[in-house]
């Protein structure tokens, strides 16, 4: 956590020192969380972003960094517990909150006076804050019950608190302030603790909107 805070402070300091080229903004995105080996559910992210134009280096290039508060949701496949035609089964639903910091390098292509296309790519780092794991068990009488397995999946050593991956994003910037974008983020690290023996890496598909000042 300290490393993340220091990274943030460093990033803000760096961007502040280049304030003429810095544009701050706000972002909100809806997303489909579809981790590998698991099933998709909807989530969201909201946060702030900064864009630093690299006009001195090459026109059109920019660096983008964000600090996003993120809720991810997903569920496991369904396990049938009985070796017959009964309906005893269970699945697990996860909901996590985390802070995600994507740092991207991108390029803008002007397609008219007020509209630009842009594409970015770069790594992201994610630090889990808290999260829940609930089991939904259907008994032999087809009655489903819900049970909280963990109220803090990171503290209870079910999921890895930190993760990283890469993201790709493409979108339109309209009237210099408004951005509509689609992005895909692929995790490199396993979500579950190795002791859980469950595979699964983050995969998020986002549709978002940003306002850049």
């Amino acid at each position: 956590m300290k490393q993340i805070i220091m990274l943030l402070v460093g990033l803000v300091s760096f961007l502040s020192s280049n304030a003429q080229e810095l544009h701050l903004g706000a972002t909100v995105a809806g997303e489909i969380n579809t981790p590998s080996e698991n099933k998709a559910k909807l989530g969201y992210s909201v946060g702030i972003k900064g864009e630093w134009n690299l006009a001195d280096v090459s026109k059109g290039w920019f660096v983008e960094a964000s600090a996003m508060f993120k809720q991810r949701n997903w569920k496991s496949g369904e396990y049938a517990y009985a070796n017959d035609e009964s309906h005893a089964s269970a699945y697990w639903a996860y909901s996590t909150y985390s802070v995600e910091i994507p740092v991207n390098v991108g390029y803008k292509f002007p397609i008219s006076h007020s509209v630009s296309l842009f594409a970015v790519a770069g790594p992201y780092f994610d630090v889990g804050l808290t999260g829940k794991d609930k089991a939904y068990v259907t008994n032999l009488k087809s009655v489903e019950t819900q049970q909280t397995v963990s109220s803090n999946v990171f503290k209870d050593n079910l999921l890895n608190r930190s993760s990283c991956g890469v993201g790709l994003k493409a979108g339109l910037q309209i009237a210099k302030h408004y951005q509509v974008h689609v992005s895909y983020m692929q995790g490199f690290s396993k979500m579950f603790k190795s002791t859980q023996g469950i595979d699964g890496k983050n995969r998020d598909v986002q549709i978002g909107f940003s306002y850049v000042f």
Partner: protein, 330 residues
């Protein structure tokens, strides 16, 4: 006058007969009951033998609360072994009948009674009344039987030990007395893990059952094709637990694109190894992704040979068969 002489004489005779009978009983072998087949067995209480700790794995302090609990006292080890052998050859009902003749409720009978009691509670439709009855039930059997701690909603009663012999002759805590020594069950571990595959190992911190997970065995997968649908079964095991499992997936393909679709599956699975073999039908209900089998992974030894026959998906009529040789259980 005659009456005055006869009554004292009759009274004296009766007293003599009574005393004779009493002494004959007390001098007789204390292990003899009215049934010859239960000769050498009598009912005592555990507290009588707390000073004799041979074979007890727990300290007397820990079982002191059960000092009044009845326990079967066997005359000697031979009697104990003979009784266990006899009971093993009987059906559950016959064992219950045997115990009834002694006038003793053993572990098996009390567990059965507790289970039946729970069954009747589960028939209660009113939720409030159900929960009240369930709480009373749990309080009644607290410390007597074990409940699955990894699943607070599973109230199935289990024995607090796994010793199969003591299940037959022990009291509800698994104790017997041989000679004058109180003998504890060999394994004082609740037995829910050994009989219920739906129990999965829990995390050190998590409060409930955690996701079982799945690990596929190498070269143990079979795919059938039904037009645009491809259904695959993969034999493996659950990771957080000890059972074989089969993962199923069906994908529909259109041009280059594909998507997962729900289906139900059935197959006949045969597994054999150096410890034995078994074959049975496996069904995965519609919409489920993985069937956890009621078979621990060590059942057949390692490696195993697997035969899959008549693998079918609800997405078509195609069937598949396969033999997987020397499958390593990981």
């Amino acid at each position: 006058m005659i009456h005055k002489k006869i009554f004292p004489l009759l009274a004296a005779c009766l007293a003599f007969v009574a005393l004779t009978a009493m002494f004959s009983c007390s001098e007789e072998d204390v292990f003899t009951s009215e049934h010859s087949e239960q000769k050498g067995i009598k009912i005592a209480t555990m507290g009588q033998f707390f000073s004799q700790t041979n074979g007890i794995t727990r300290s007397c302090g820990e079982i002191a609360e059960f000092s009044d609990m009845p326990v079967l006292q066997f005359k000697d080890a031979a009697t104990f072994n003979a009784t266990v052998s006899k009971l093993k050859s009987l059906s559950k009902e016959e064992r219950a009948s045997f115990m009834k003749t002694i006038g003793f409720d053993g572990a098996e009978q009390i567990l059965c009674k507790a289970d039946e009691e729970l069954d009747s509670i589960f028939e209660i439709e009113d939720e409030t009344q159900f929960e009240t009855s369930l709480k009373e039930y749990q309080a009644k059997y607290k410390g007597i039987v074990a409940f699955d701690e990894s699943d607070t909603y599973d109230v199935t009663p289990y024995l607090t030990f796994t010793d199969s012999s003591m299940t037959l002759v022990g009291n509800i805590k698994g104790y017997v007395v041989i000679g004058d020594k109180l003998i504890a069950p060999n394994n004082n571990t609740p037995n829910y893990g050994s009989v219920n595959v739906s129990v999965v190992a829990k995390s050190s911190m998590a409060a409930g059952p955690i996701q079982p997970g799945f690990r596929a065995f190498v070269n143990s997968s079979l795919t059938i094709k039904n037009g645009k649908y491809k259904s695959t079964m993969t034999l493996g095991r659950i990771v957080n637990g000890n059972s074989f499992a089969i993962k199923f997936v069906t994908k529909k393909k259109q041009f280059l694109w594909k998507k997962s679709v729900n289906a139900s599956y059935s197959l006949n699975l045969g597994m054999s190894g150096n410890k034995g073999s078994h074959s049975n039908n496996v069904i995965c209900p519609y919409g489920k992704d993985c069937t956890i089998l009621n078979t621990p992974v060590e059942t057949f030894g390692n490696p195993i040979n697997v035969t899959v026959a008549n693998f079918k998906s609800s997405r078509g009529n195609a069937t598949g068969n396969a033999n997987f040789k020397n499958v390593q259980i990981q």
